[in-house]
């Protein structure tokens, strides 16, 4: 086969050039193997950041978190490979974690597009931990598509090129006369040969570097089409396997009896032997985090945990409650600057509190671990398997290459699976017991001891003169966000663990994700993080639901002071044409400005992140008959009755999944604004069940929801997984003010109202399993 020129050449008239990317010719490899294997190499061809027009750009306008992770991924992206099987299928192990966001499907679409192969013929699996990928195995910040868009297509395009070359040999025709379509290559005269028949012929004995041109965007037929989830049938028939469903021999159910206070520790167990004799129980051992029990069934684990008599050392927050944490945050708030503004300028200041929120997924922290004397094997839903592998190896005293870490599809993440608390604990317990374990956190543990979105106090200060905004400052003081997962690799993880390292990393993430988006003169946003006693993490959309809500309420206040409609005010001051178009789209779709009954109102907000722009309009019903609805063990309160969302997501890979991600993000935003939080009382979180946590339930769901995808001028794909949250949360807050006349200052708005539940006991840490299930049958 003729090897095309290895020298990258600029594409004269490609669509990527049109969209501001300077070439669509890239280098890659055909790797040696029995069948065709191709790999992508991006060292020679990066994607330059797009220019933005702005007078005084904020850092995130020029270079954001997506750019950081994409750049970190670039040097090792050549290690991703596509294999063509003799059945004509394309196989690809994605070095990312699927938790429902749909990246397995979008990856299959990218491959199908460049390979001219039906999507059903592309098999995408999740790669095991691959330490050689260094930065390139982190799933976070909604960056998957941005960072893999080009390398995956390069590998697929090279595969198609090699198959065409092989077909030329096969038919004795020249490549130019051949056409690839739906996994088959056609030669003149109607002769055809399938990819599967060509893969051995196309295989290479050695690794060869080749150059390839990617398909121009205007020729896309798969990218941009609505494709449904490939695993939907498995999910709806119960065949989809999550970690706890895997059949690993002898990995018996295991649970941990945990302390009554946050991050407490076990001191002494009074009845170890008695509990070891309980039905089904095989092992009981004390570990760092509590007392682990292994039994024939999880039910028997629960019974044994409840029977354990453990004395505990108090955790570090004992004696403190929500109010103490807020006082600490207030005293840590960085001062505002002193922008030079005219004497007659007016100043507006606001302070908002965002309480702790649980980022529990429905699948609790869970892992299977089998730690032996000389090797270990771990299965779990992991967004960061390389760091998990390294830390587990350290914890059990094995070389890293003796620890095999399998990434299993997760039952939701929302940031939770950036960490590997379950996997690390499972490995330690397995080692302590000398047996395989199937470790599961009880829901009460997952909520009380699991990671949370840190509480924060956000202040804004705006100066204006007449109807001109002169400056906008935001000071965000937050309980420390744990970023010690770094960028997916232990070197960066260690950097964040260095003294004051976490501050720097957090400040970097903050600056890389925040962008006010309005022409407000001098703009300045700063973060200060204090208090590392909590188990925190990046919950879906990290800082933005909080910072954005503070910004948009301030914006509504300015609009009031200027006597302007909130939509018109935003439209006039939106910094980019993409934002204006997205605002116009959402306002039109939502009938912005329509007459609303007393006690109800619309609210509007924007957000800009993940290479995209979003805007949301909600209608909120705050009338007593709605607010005071009685549903047992439930947060009712104000209800969003209609939610309209517009997104300019850049180049859209799969509009079906994009809509699904926005719908999910919107329901998160509604929960954060209205119902869902955890309350800290005397060093422990009160919530121990889904009814307590009050994440959005059917009775909180807007009966009307609409997502509109805005035609984008950007040829670059943006992130979707987190993009729905911030604008929705802020729009609900703004609607609440307009409906009630009271500006909300604490979130969720219902946090300070009397608890809607009776607090479950802390000791024993798990509630008993009910026995009255048959009484509810109707």
């Amino acid at each position: 086969m003729t090897v095309p020129s290895p020298v990258p050449t600029p594409a004269p008239e490609g669509s990527e050039a049109k969209f501001g990317v300077d070439r669509r010719r890239f280098l890659g490899f055909v790797l040696g193997g029995a069948t065709l294997i191709t790999a992508a190499d991006l060292v020679a061809g990066g994607t330059p950041a797009q220019a933005v027009s702005s007078l005084v750009p904020q850092p995130a306008e020029l270079y954001d978190l997506n750019d950081l992770i994409t750049d970190a991924a670039r040097p090792t992206a050549n290690l991703i490979t596509i294999t063509i099987t003799e059945e004509g299928r394309a196989q690809f192990a994605l070095p990312r974690s699927e938790n429902g966001q749909g990246i397995i499907d979008s990856t299959a679409m990218l491959i199908a597009e460049e390979l001219d192969l039906p999507v059903e013929m592309v098999d995408v699996t999740l790669a095991d931990a691959r330490p050689e990928l260094v930065f390139n195995q982190l799933t976070g910040g909604s960056t998957t598509t941005t960072s893999t868009f080009t390398p995956i297509r390069v590998a697929a395009a090279i595969a198609k090129g090699a198959l065409l070359q092989a077909a030329a040999t096969f038919f004795g025709d020249s490549v130019e006369l051949l056409k690839s379509k739906a996994g088959v290559i056609e030669a003149p005269g109607g002769r055809t040969v399938a990819y599967g028949q060509l893969t051995r012929l196309a295989a290479s004995t050695t690794d060869r570097q080749v150059a390839v041109d990617l398909k121009p965007h205007e020729e896309f037929t798969v990218i941009g089409s609505p494709v449904k989830r490939k695993d939907a049938l498995e999910a709806i028939t119960g065949r989809k396997k999550f970690t706890l469903d895997l059949d690993v021999p002898d990995a018996l159910p295991t649970m941990v009896c945990r302390p009554p206070s946050l991050n407490g520790a076990p001191e002494r167990v009074a009845n170890l032997d008695a509990v070891r004799q309980m039905p089904g129980v095989t092992d009981v051992v004390k570990v760092e985090t509590g007392v682990a029990v292994r039994a024939a069934t999880f039910g028997q684990c629960i019974d044994a945990v409840r029977a354990l008599e453990v004395s505990w050392r108090d955790g570090p927050v004992v004696g403190e409650s929500d109010g103490d944490i807020r006082a600490r945050l207030r005293s840590a708030q960085l001062p505002f600057g002193t922008p030079s503004v005219p004497l007659l300028a007016k100043t507006v200041e606001h302070e908002f509190t965002f309480w702790f929120k649980s980022n529990s997924a429905l699948e609790p922290n869970a892992a299977i671990a089998d730690v032996r004397a000389d090797s270990a094997e771990v299965w779990s839903g992991l967004k960061n398997p390389i760091v998990a592998q390294q830390e587990i190896a350290l914890a059990v005293g094995l070389p890293q290459d003796k620890v095999k870490v399998h990434v299993v599809q997760g039952g939701g993440s929302f940031g939770r699976k950036l960490f590997f608390d379950g996997a690390l604990e499972a490995a330690k317990v397995s080692q302590a017991m000398g047996k395989p374990v199937r470790l599961m956190w009880h829901r009460s543990d997952d909520t009380r001891q699991g990671r949370v979105h840190p509480a924060a106090v956000s202040k804004t200060r705006t100066t204006y003169l007449g109807k001109e905004v002169l400056s906008f400052e935001q000071r965000h003081a937050s309980v420390s966000t744990d970023f010690t997962h770094g960028l997916g690799e232990i070197l960066t993880a260690l950097a964040a663990k260095l003294p004051s390292g976490n501050y720097t990393f957090a400040q970097s993430i903050f600056l890389l994700t925040q962008e006010v988006g309005y022409d407000f003169g001098v703009v300045d946003q700063l973060l200060n993080e204090v208090d590392e006693r909590f188990n925190t993490g990046s919950m879906r959309n990290i800082y933005s639901p909080d910072t954005r809500t503070a910004i948009e309420l301030t914006v509504d206040d300015l609009a009031r002071r200027f006597g302007q409609d909130p939509y018109e005010f935003r439209l006039a001051r939106a910094k980019s044409s993409r934002t204006r178009k997205t605002l116009e789209t959402v306002a039109a779709a939502a009938d912005w400005g329509k007459r609303m009954p007393v006690g109800t109102a619309q609210g509007i907000a924007i957000h800009k992140e993940y290479k995209g722009v979003t805007a949301c309009v909600v209608e909120l019903d705050c009338r007593p008959e709605t607010v005071n609805r009685e549903i047992r063990e439930a947060r009712t309160g104000p209800r969003v009755t209609r939610a309209t969302f517009a997104i300019d997501a850049g180049l859209v890979i799969n509009p079906n999944h994009l809509e699904a991600q926005m719908q999910g993000g919107m329901l998160d935003g509604i929960a954060l604004a209205l119902t869902s939080s955890v309350h800290l009382r005397n060093g422990a979180f009160l919530e121990a069940s889904w009814d307590n946590v009050a994440y959005t339930r059917q009775w909180n769901v807007p009966p009307e929801m609409e997502v509109v995808v805005v035609d984008s001028d950007s040829g670059q794909p943006g992130g979707a997984g987190e993009a729905g949250v911030a604008a929705t949360c802020a729009a609900v807050a703004c609607a609440y003010w307009r409906a009630t006349g009271t500006m909300p200052k604490e979130f969720p708005i219902n946090h300070q109202t009397p608890l809607h539940f009776e607090v479950k006991p802390f000791s024993p840490p798990m509630p008993p399993s009910p026995t009255n299930g048959l009484d509810f049958i109707r």
Binding site: R239, F242, F298, E363, H442, R443, M666, S689, W690, L774
Partner: protein, 159 residues
Amino acid sequence: MPDHTFLVNGERVTVDVEDDVRLLWVLRDRLGITGPKYGCGINVCKACTSHLNGKAFNPCAVPVSALRKKDEITTIEGLADTVDGDLHPMQEAWLEFDVAQCGYCQPGQIMAAVDKVRQVQEAGREITDDDLDEIRNICRCGTYFRIRQAIKAGAAAMG
């Protein structure tokens, strides 16, 4: 340990397990039937929703000893076998609206939806938004809106 005999998805099973073990664990840990999921263990999240003699219930809250020999459990794995065709109409509706994201709650959602529609249709009514508001199953991915669309379509197909 005592033997417990009942029907699961059309098959008679006998399990040797303590009386008080909840059925969810008998299904998952002893019989390897993993469609019903754990989400709370206290009959709140409804991820384990299955059917007992055709009606929705939550096996996390039922001791195995409460079952009688003639009792028939249907889990998500057996739902399609209760109708003609490859899938239950509610499962077809789920595919049509591409409801699932992570998929963890979806078996319970579908089993609850089928039962909700049965109750409404037995009362001679069409399913309403108020009926949908009563469904307590959690979906942490927030697929609720597509769930509502799918249940309405599934109800029409079941009617």
